[in-house]
Every structure is written in C-alpha cells, then in structure tokens.
Amino acid sequence: MRDGYYLYTKGLTVGYHGVPLIREIELCLKKGEILTLIGPNGAGKTTILRNIIRQMEPLSGTVCLDGRALASITGRELSRKLSVVLTERVRPELMTCEEVVATGRYPYTGRFGVLSEKDRQIVKESMELVHISEFANRDFIRTSDGQKQRVMLARAICQEPEMIVLDEPTSFLDMRYKLEFLSILQDMSRSRGLSVIMSLHELDLAERISDKVACVKGDHVDRFGTPEEVFAGGYIKELYGMSTGSYDERTGSLELEAVKGKPEVFVLAGAGSGTAVYRRLQREGIPFATGILWENDLDYPAAQALAAEVVSIKPFSRMDENSVKRAKELIDGCSRVICAMDEKDAGEFYSAFSVLLRYAAGQGK
C-alpha cells in the first residue's frame, strides 16, 4: 500500500525527554515531490524535520526512507541519500564559501577527505546552479545571511542526495532569491527526481511550490494533502489562530484588521483601482464602504477584508437596481466619496459607475 513512496512515516510520535509534542504523524512523499510543513511558530515543524533526518529518535512509530526503516540505514548510506539545510548557524573558521560547499562531498571522499577532479567539478556545478560562483573565494563568515543560505543550498546539492530537507530555508532571503531558491528546488525535483521536504513561513510560496502540504497544529498534523485541499474554506486563518486581519487563500495576500464602525467614506472603485485606497483608509483608521464590485473584481478580496460594507454582485452579471440603490444609500450616509477609477475606464457594463459618480457630485461629495 505504501509502495511507490520515497518517504513515509507510520504512527510517528515526536517529542523531547519522552514527552510527546506531536502524535501519530502520517506523511508520505513520492520521488520528485515537494512537501511543505506549515503551521504557527513553535508548532513543532523543526522537531518533525529533525526526526526525519535522524537527528532525534522518534518516541514511537517509524520513518521509512526508500523502502527501509530509517533506523536500519548506516550513517554513510544516509548521507548519500539525504542532505540538509538547517537553521543552525554555522561558523566555520577561515573557510571560503567554496570550501563550505565542498564539505558536501564528504560522503564520497576517501580516508583523508581529499577532493578528486570529479568532486571539484560537482562543487563547481553546484555553485553555478545557485549562482554563488562570484563569491566562491570569500570568507564564509563574512558573507550575509542570505548568501550563507545559498551557500548551504549549494552544499546540500553537491552532496548529490535523493532527498533534501530544509528548515525555513527562505527566511533570510530577499524576494529575488526566495523565488530563485525555490525555482532551483522545483527544477531539481522535476529533472533529477529529487524529493524535497521543508518548512516554510511564506504561505503564498508554500501554496505555489508544494505538491503536498502538511499543517502542524497543536499536537497533531491537522491536515495533509494537496495545496488545493489545504488552502480552502478559511482554513489558514484557523490554522494560525489569526484573530486580527485576514488571509486570502486565492491570492495569498494578507490584510490587516478592518476598521469597524459606520462608513465615513464611500470608495467608488473597480478593476484593481481601489485596493491601494482601501489600505490607505485602513492605515488612517477610517471606516469605509465600497462598490459596486463584481465578486471577480481585482479589488474584491481587499474590499471584503477591509471595508465595513461592500456592495457586490455576482461575477459577470448585470448591474441590478438593488445594488445601485444600496450604493446610493451608503453614499447618503458618508461624508465623502472617493472616486478611485477614471470614468473613461468604466466599460459598457459598469453603467452604474457614471450614475453613482453624478449622484455623489450632485450632493457635493
């Protein structure tokens, strides 16, 4: 039943000093798949990873790698199957980045760890893949945290593993390198059949890159499945116990808590023109209403998260009388109306736009 999986856990319970932290973990992963662990800070993602890379002994249950129990694999064999990128800070003295990458060849070198020509070639390729060749000769300690992280990825790759385990690998990286880092993993999983397990805090990235997502919550893995299954129905807000703000599962965007109260401003918006205005009003602490938006409008997610009231209509439907009436009522109640969109941009079907704009102008708002 579990054939075909490169890694799976069976009834895995992990914890410290005999006290279970997370119970009965059932994860499975095929070759070439990417599994991401998500969950709040301190949920135990790192602890699970540490059990998978055998840095901790499971309290009960097993981890199987390549069809064999993890406990029965020798250290040397394991080092050729699995490499890691951890959050642990490495401070090797007087080592260049290239030398740090080359430590990945350890499982393949002889008694005294002397690199062969082939080893050097692989080190070079790994560094090119992660684009760190330019600072190959720099002292590792003197590089930035982001650069260190990329060096550690090159190191993990040059170990030529079948699976890489990464603990919050993108934390110190800027946007460009976050994407680059994950693209490299995606490429390698497709082209070399590399399996990847990692923990991520960036939910948007987790949703985009993962084949499987496991949500760690409380003392168990609450959900395990494809991103489509997990990122649905407001589950993320529940997973993180978010009491303020909101998370949009389709776009992956976070919004701060909406300002409550009777709307003081009405924002006439659509087609993405309103989002920046909504956020500004939120910053200034002004409750507002907005409309009229189709539910598939670009502005709709932010409007729903931030506005006191949104006048909305079904996607691709006609503007109906009720909505226009409701919008007029709201304009009546507001002291100001902000027009976020140019009238020219309102197409044939947004006829209500001109109507409302005139209505507001007529009231001197």
Partner: protein, 336 residues
C-alpha cells in the same frame, strides 16, 4: 596555487624554528660549552666526560622531551577547541592538566611513604585517570551551563581546587624527594631520562597518529554537529575519541613535565594564522611542529635567562601564551 606555496612556506618555517631551538637548547645552558665541543660530543668524539654527560644525559633528552611533549600539548589543545567549538579551550585552562597533576601527586606521595619506586607507566596511568576525572567534570558542567565563558570559568575553578589540594599534599609530604615533586608540580622539563623520552614518545606519537587519522571527521565536526551528522559522522563515537585522545595527550605531558600553561591555546591559534586555514589535515601536523618549537623556545628561556636559577616552564609559556589568549578574546568580541 598560491595557497599551496603558503602552506609549504609555513611548514618550512615551523621546521626551521624547531631545528633552530633544538640546536640552541643543546648548546646553551648554565654550564657554557662551546659549539665545537658540542659538535664533537654529538659525533662521538667528545673528550671531556663531564661535558658529554651534560649534553647526552641532560640536555639532549630534555630537549627532545620538550619538543615531543610540546607537540602533544598543542594537539590536545586543538582537539579541545574543536570539541567545544571554542578557541580558548585548552587542557590547562579547563583544569584537565591540574586534575592529572593531582592524581599523579597523590600516587607519588603514597609511593614515597611506602618507599616504592613509581614506574613511568603508572605515572601516565595516574595522570590519565586524573585527566579523565577533570574532563568528566567539565563535560558535566558543559551540560548544565550553555555559555562557553561559564564553562571556561568552571574549568579554571576546577584547576584551582586541584592545584590547592596538590599543594597541600606536597607541602605535608615528608621526604627529601619532595623538592623534585615541588618543581614538577609547578611544571618543568628537568630530570627527564632517555627511558622517559622513549616512553613518552611512544605514547604521544601513537596518539598523534590517531588524531591525524581523525582529520576528516574533525573537518566534518567543524561544520557543527547537525551538519556533521548529516555527513555520516557518528557524533557520539567521535566525541568519545576526541575526549580520550586529548586526555591521553595532556595526561602524558603532565605525567612527565607537570602542568604546562597556555601552549594548548596559543599554538593552535598561531598556527592557524600562519597557515590562513583551519583545515585539520594541515593544522594537525602544523600544531605538532608549532607546539614542539614553542616549548623548546620557552624551555630555553626558562633555563638560560636567570641561570643557574631555573624558571618553571609555565611561567615562560604564560608570558608568551596569555597575550595570545587576550588577543583572541578581543578579536572575537569585535567579530560578534
């Protein structure tokens, strides 16, 4: 290939210093013997039996012992620094030398009272037992305190306690031989015979060879335990080896020369700067050569500066070693 030239140059320098100080140690001393006379004695054409006795029975074995023990001591320090990931760890500062000294003193005093001769082997064994006791205590402390500076402080305290007890034992033991014991407990290379040299060489060279064979695992361990383990290193077993080897090395030194301060910290640091790398495969032979040259140099000063009065070896090593430690600490503070 500039790097390799630097390594060659570094080894050349160390070797040259070693030979230079070895020669000086044989030539210089409280009895002045001309260089040509030394040459004649060494080539077996010496005419004066007093001179040849001084050179062949006193200075030569003493110089060799200083070299071999110095090398062992530097290696022991290097291993402890690797083990604790701390550049100012060393057998003296962590109280390991003092632990060895205490047990050796106890054994020697007990033997003196019963008028039994203590063999070199039992001295080494006693020192090893003492080193392991201190090491055990330091390891225990390292589990309780997670701050490295606290570990060092507790090591220094262990050292003081052991030294105090040793002083107590030595002061109240009644024998003429106690003068020797007193010198030894302060640290000195004096009174080493050819038999001693043979024995300590066997122990130190065997242990050093084992250390050299461990150079690959040491390089993995330098990346931290988590990564080391992922590279297939058996951390637990490796740590046992490190503890045993560093204890054997420092115990052997203590058994023959008493506690010698700062060599274990200063030499690895200086050698690292000289080579510009921390690769174990280069560092291990480098530390050995450096330690040997450093101890020969210090012993030379100890014997010659206030001749015929002899300084204890630790006095001299401290003068040169302690500033290095201060330098390391300042540099580390600036880095972090």
């Amino acid at each position: 290939m500039k790097k390799e030239n630097r390594y060659r140059l570094a080894y050349g320098t160390l070797l040259l210093l070693l030979l230079l100080f070895l020669a000086l140690n044989i030539c210089a001393g409280s009895v002045s013997i001309s260089v040509s006379e030394v040459g004649r004695v060494l080539t077996g054409r010496g005419t004066d039996t007093v001179f040849s006795d001084i050179i062949l029975q006193i200075r030569f074995p003493r110089a060799l012992a200083a070299a071999v023990l110095g090398g062992g001591l530097a290696l022991s320090g290097y291993l402890l620094q690797t083990f604790f990931h701390n550049p100012i760890a060393g057998p003296f500062i962590l109280g390991i030398s003092s632990g060895a000294k205490l047990v050796v003193a106890l054994v020697m005093v007990a033997a003196l009272e019963r008028a039994v001769q203590v063999s070199s082997w039992s001295m080494i064994l006693a020192a090893f037992a003492g080193a392991m006791i201190s090491m055990g205590f330091v390891l225990l402390m390292s589990r309780v305190v997670d701050q490295m500076s606290m570990l060092i402080v507790s090591g220094v305290m262990i050292g003081y306690i052991c030294s105090a007890v040793t002083d107590f034992v030595v002061t109240f033991a009644e024998d003429a031989d106690i003068v020797n014991l007193h010198n030894w407990s302060k640290g000195s290379f004096s009174g080493i015979s050819w038999d001693n040299v043979a024995m300590l060489s066997v122990v130190i060279f065997t242990a050093s060879l084992c250390v050299f064979l461990l150079s690959k695992p040491i390089s993995a361990y330098q990346m931290g335990e988590a990564y080391g383990q992922n590279m297939g290193l058996n951390i637990r077993l490796f740590r046992v080896f490190l503890v045993l080897l560093s204890s054997v090395l420092s115990a052997c030194v203590t058994a023959f020369a008493g506690p010698v301060s700062f060599v274990g910290i200063a030499v690895p640091h200086l050698v690292k700067s000289l080579f510009g790398t921390a690769r174990p495969i280069l560092m291990i032979p480098g530390c050995f050569l450096g330690g040997a040259a450093f101890c020969l140099f210090c012993d030379l000063l100890a014997r010659v500066v206030f001749a015929p009065t002899e300084l204890s070896i630790s006095t001299v090593t401290a003068v040169f070693g302690a500033p290095v430690v201060i330098f390391i600490m300042v540099k580390r503070r600036r880095q972090s």
